[in-house]
């Protein structure tokens, strides 16, 4: 009996400790049912560490989206002591029709597990960046973004022109590549990246979905970064990331879309040697 009440007291005490934190998290609406499901799908039962201080992962997103169909997002990561680093990033937009916008996997050649892209946001939503580290932990940065209707903007605004240009890629290294240093790369893919349109009762129109689903970037034949993405990424998907050139080689991007169309582009890199 005594034991039991002591236990109860302990439990109550623990609850007191835990409750304020739980309360704070649900008060800002970030503990949604959708998020619970997405979390389990992405990282199973692992604890997600809310990285408010940005120790491992930081998410840049506007408070209010200017154009909900083109919301710039940047995810920055840091290494932890002991060589622990980020191997994978997940981008989640809770309120989108398909909340998991992308999963980005970084090989050692990436040098830095950072990604910038642009997304569509359908409704006022939490946007999250989940970072999986090499020691098996999961960190999360999140921002609330006020946006609406991003997914329903007609692809291309000028559809014929968008379709005529589909599959054109632009791949460029932003500055002169330096051997052994992470260099920023921009990859632009001309593609409607459309969620499609279910049979519309009003107009009887039907537009099938058509979006980029896979991006693989290699350097001299070795993996740098790969991405599994969907139509939460804006029309004309745009990615900025890093790679570390060691010697001369070819930087190559290969794209596969939801209709199994393949596109690729490559650029020859001759890094400068510096500091030797």
């Amino acid at each position: 009996m005594k034991m039991k009440s002591a236990l109860a007291l302990l439990v109550a005490g623990l609850l007191m400790l835990v409750l304020p934190a739980v309360h704070a998290a649900s008060e800002d609406g970030s503990d949604s049912v959708i998020w619970g499901k997405v979390k389990t799908a992405l990282v199973g039962e692992r604890t997600v560490i809310d990285d408010e201080a940005g120790t491992v992962v930081e998410l840049e997103a506007p408070v209010r989206a200017e154009d909900a169909a083109v919301v710039p997002i940047a995810i920055h990561t840091r290494q932890l002591p002991g060589g622990v680093h980020v191997t994978r990033l997940h981008l989640v937009i809770d309120e989108n029709p398909s909340p998991i916008g992308g999963t980005f996997t970084f090989a050692p050649l990436a040098g830095r597990a950072d990604i910038e892209t642009r997304v569509r946001i359908e409704a006022y939503s939490w946007v999250r960046a989940l970072a999986e580290t090499s020691d098996g932990k999961v960190y999360m940065a999140r921002r609330f973004v006020k946006a609406s209707g991003g997914c329903s903007a007609p692809a291309g605004k000028d559809r014929e022109e968008a379709l005529a240009r589909m599959g054109k890629l632009k791949l460029r290294v932003e500055d002169d590549a330096v051997a052994g240093q992470p260099s920023a790369v921009q990859l632009m893919i001309s593609h409607p990246n459309s969620s499609g349109l279910a049979m519309d009762q009003l107009t009887r129109l039907f537009v099938p979905p058509h979006f980029v689903r896979r991006v693989d970037v290699t350097y001299a034949g070795k993996p740098v970064m790969s991405a599994d993405v969907d139509f939460s990424i804006s029309e004309n998907p745009n990615f900025r990331f890093y790679f570390v050139p060691e010697g001369p080689g070819e930087l190559k991007a290969e794209i596969v879309d939801s209709q199994d169309l393949h596109f690729e582009s490559s650029v020859a890199i001759k890094p400068e040697m510096r500091g030797s």
């Binding site: 840049e60 209707g149 605004k157 009003l202 107009t203 745009n238």
Partner: protein, 324 residues
């Protein structure tokens, strides 16, 4: 009202156009302050014989303005009436229909939508009882299908009672190039434009009075909103500015007789947006930064720039980075 308009179009002030908009908005505000019970007609002005225009307030849709934020009009023929844009809610559409009824018993045989934006189409349902043809650009149905649900959600969120019970009404007759409508001794010339303000802009020219309804291909006072193609809109702005017409009814605001200057002013903004966005892309300025730097010298010239300028830069950037 007329004297105020004449005065403001003739004034050589810093922003004569803006002042003009404010003066006209007074009429709209007066309408908004009326009790909501009976359907009070919108205050319309006869800009030419048989051509009536309501000038909306320069604002976002909200529970006070009910979406009466764009210019709406109607033209009376000997057989029937053509309505040009129906307003941002059924409530506004009903008030516009009441304005028609205050002037003529003739049926409304056409409701023409100048483009897909909600402040121009969400009043359509108020005209269903008239059994008109609903007329729009050939690309309007797809745009409505893609965005309609979202427009309804935004209306519900922002306009309270006026935003409830909305239904979309799609065109029953579309225009892919040019078309004419005869409303009885009066021919309206419709023209579908290549992608400019949106990808479904349609203009209406009343030949008899030489009055051109531009829809949102012309903004006066209200910052122009790029939702189509910047380069295309610059070209269309220039072409419209050269048209030999007597009266121009813009989609927002009113330039009165100074409509050529209004086109020039809009062209200047669009060109500055184009030049500065291109320069930012060339200099490697990223999108998230460009929205803070591009066109800052332009924003004081326009109302609602806080709502729309960064968005315009975003649209311009996404478009122009694919140039070449």
């Amino acid at each position: 009202m007329q004297s105020v308009v004449r005065k403001c179009t003739g004034v050589r002030a810093d922003f004569p156009v803006l002042r003009c908009v404010r003066a006209l908005a007074g009429a709209a505000l007066l309408w908004l302050s009326q009790p909501a019970a009976a359907v009070e007609p919108l205050p319309v002005r006869e800009v030419a014989a048989g051509v009536y225009v309501f000038h909306g307030v320069t604002a976002e849709q909200d529970e006070h303005n009910h979406g009466a934020i764009s210019n709406l009009g109607f033209i009376v023929g000997s057989r029937c009436v053509a309505v040009i844009d129906s307003g941002g809610s059924p409530m506004v559409g009903e008030a516009l229909l009441a304005s028609v009824r205050a002037i003529t018993p003739l049926p409304v045989c056409y409701v023409i939508n100048t483009h897909v934006h909600p402040d121009h189409v969400l009043g359509n349902q108020a005209f269903l009882g008239e059994k008109p043809e609903f007329v729009g650009h050939a690309k309007l149905p797809l745009a409505l299908a893609a965005r309609g649900r979202n427009y309804i959600e935004a209306a519900e969120r922002m306009m309270g009672a006026a935003g409830r019970g909305l239904q979309l009404v799609a065109p029953t007759r579309t225009v892919s190039d040019e078309d004419t409508l005869d409303i009885g001794d009066r021919v309206l010339r419709l023209r579908a434009w290549p992608t400019a303000h949106t990808d479904n802009d349609l203009t209406v020219l009343d030949e008899r009075s030489s009055t051109l309804f531009t829809g949102d291909l012309l903004f006066v006072g209200h910052m122009p909103v790029v939702d189509g193609k910047l380069v295309g809109w610059i070209a269309v702005t220039d072409e419209l500015a050269r048209m030999k017409v007597t009266h121009v009814v813009s989609g927002h605001g009113d330039a009165g007789d100074a409509w050529r200057e209004a086109f020039d002013k809009q062209g200047n903004y669009l060109r500055a947006l184009y030049a500065q966005t291109r320069a930012a892309i060339r200099d490697g300025v990223r999108l998230s930064r460009a929205v803070e730097t591009v066109g800052r010298d332009q924003i004081d010239n326009w109302a609602l720039s806080g709502l729309f300028h960064r968005r315009n830069v975003t649209a311009a950037y996404a478009e122009l980075e694919w140039e070449d």
